[in-house]
């Protein structure tokens, strides 16, 4: 499949398949959800990021072999008051990143609750990644890596420790999610929003590259 000769686009990109996925970020406030997204989407970091009210929407596309994976990212508000809005963002999502702050044990406990809620109420088969953020503050760590690792393993989650500040593992965690997401479905799943959208140009070659 990878060696198949494909016509080149004028800009040199292969007209591969485009897969679009809805991804939601959840976690206690101030663990760095918006910062992770800002780093992933714009390559920027601000020490002080204004608090998210409701949810912020961003998109970013990454390339895996000949597949362009477009993430529609919903970055949600962390505080309890805004919890009731969360289902509308994780409903129909194919992926979720649950974020906690490695220097704060409470945020790890909160993350576990989010994982439980997702496992109970989100789309079955949703890919969940656990991100222990603020790795740059390693000296102030209060959540140990092996503890999170074990928890993630037992619950079938992807797990990485990240730093939006230094950008450590930020692209990596999105990439790991993209790799785990099924890219062989061609139809929309009813009632789950825009699950898979083919780009106009790629429509015709879809049947040949979708395996």
């Amino acid at each position: 499949m990878a060696n198949r000769a494909v016509p080149q686009r004028p800009n040199g990109q292969t007209p591969g398949k485009i897969c679009q996925f809805k991804l939601v970020l959840l976690g206690e406030s101030s663990v760095g959800k918006s910062s992770l997204v800002l780093r992933f989407v714009k390559g920027q970091f601000h020490e002080y990021q204004e608090s998210t009210i409701g949810a912020a929407f961003l998109t970013q596309t990454i390339h895996l072999n000949d597949v362009a994976v477009k993430f529609e990212i919903w970055d949600t508000a962390g505080q309890e008051r805004y919890h009731s809005l969360a289902p509308m963002y994780y409903r129909g999502a194919q992926a979720a990143i649950v974020v906690y702050d490695i220097t704060n044990q409470d945020t790890f406990e909160r993350a576990k609750n989010w994982v439980k809620e997702l496992q109970r109420q989100a789309t079955p088969g949703i890919v969940i990644a656990l991100a222990g953020n603020k790795l740059d503050l390693n000296t102030m760590r209060s959540v140990q890596t092996d503890e999170s690792q074990t928890y993630a393993y037992e619950n079938g989650l992807l797990f990485m420790e990240t730093s939006a500040k230094t950008s450590a593992n930020v692209t990596e965690i999105f990439k790991a999610i993209a790799e785990k997401l099924p890219k062989n479905e061609t139809t929309n799943t009813a009632g789950q929003g825009r699950r898979l959208v083919e780009s106009e140009g790629a429509n015709k070659s879809l049947s040949s590259c979708c395996k």
């Binding site: 009210i53 009731s84 809005l85």
Partner: protein
Amino acid sequence: MSSYDSRLKDLDQVLESEVIDLSKLREFCFNGIPDVKGYRSLCWRLLLNYLPCDRNKWDEQLDHHRKLYQQWLDEILVTPGSIDNEECDHPLSEDPNSKWNTFFKDNQALTQIDKDVRRLHPELSFFQQATDYPLPIVVYSCGTKRLNRRVGMHFLNSANVVRKGLGIVKISQKSEQTSTSEFKPLEEGSEAHWEVVERILFVYCKLNPGQGYVQGMNEIIGPIYYCFATDPIIKMKEHAEADCFFVFTNLMSEIRDFFIKTLDETDTGIVNMMRKVTDRLKENDPVVHSYLVKNEIYPQYYSFRWLTLLLSQEFSLPEVLRIWDSLFSDSQRFSFLIDICCAMIVLIRDQILAGDFSTIVKLLQNYPNVETRVILNKAAELSVKNRDEESSGI
């Protein structure tokens, strides 16, 4: 005389009468309060019912409230253990009346406030600068009364002690989190504006225990504090903290339901407000309305934040001040907010109608550069139209 000068003269006339005509003042302020001579800070105090219309009562009113605020501070900023007759109370007490118990509980609220005030308008340097009017009992307390010092102190009952298997208890070191950049508490003798805002929110939280602090209140108090703490009239500026507390409290009494989850579905709750925006859009631009519906662009994606924060995150601070002049002058209180939201959508209808889901959500969440004047004019136009239609029974 230029039209600007004559406007100032008009405003002076309204403000100088012994008993201020509130409807005249509203009418004037609706079109924007001049950015000079502390007009805005005075007018907001009047429009938000902190100052009475009778000028003769101003001194007494201000004096009374400022003293009251000081008294609350004295009570609220006390650290348990500092008073002698508390021998039976101790930090591990489970007595619900224990001052220590309350102290640790308060610290949880304070932790949230602290996170949010440290990221208040990060694009401006104002909130990180020192105030000219620090609170002496705080800034000369060797740090003990600085609220941000208390943040993280509720860890006593959670984070430091980790119980591993086999009963091994591990005490993890909790080193004090030192911030490397701007939002640092200032040195002994001075404090930054964000520390003052933190204190006002904490007092509000203590005095309104049913509601507490909700994220977003920081964005409501920010512009008010900024307006009061930059007042060119020194005798007003030096009381920015106390006055801001009362004006913020009055404003919150009108919009508090936006911040209470259990009231979401009530008449005054956020869901109904979002519905009003959608309905007004449907009346005024059915094409855009149905396009948004068709593309599954729910109001939660944009108008939730617009309404909850009174648009304070959508525009730059000077623009927010101008928009709030009109909002606070609205006698029906925030019916004009619905008109502004509707105007914001109608003004970018062409971009919306040409966009797909992603483009439209991004557009509405990052509102493009449209002059405030244009938005407000459009909103006023919609508001007149709606009022006419209502009165003629359409």
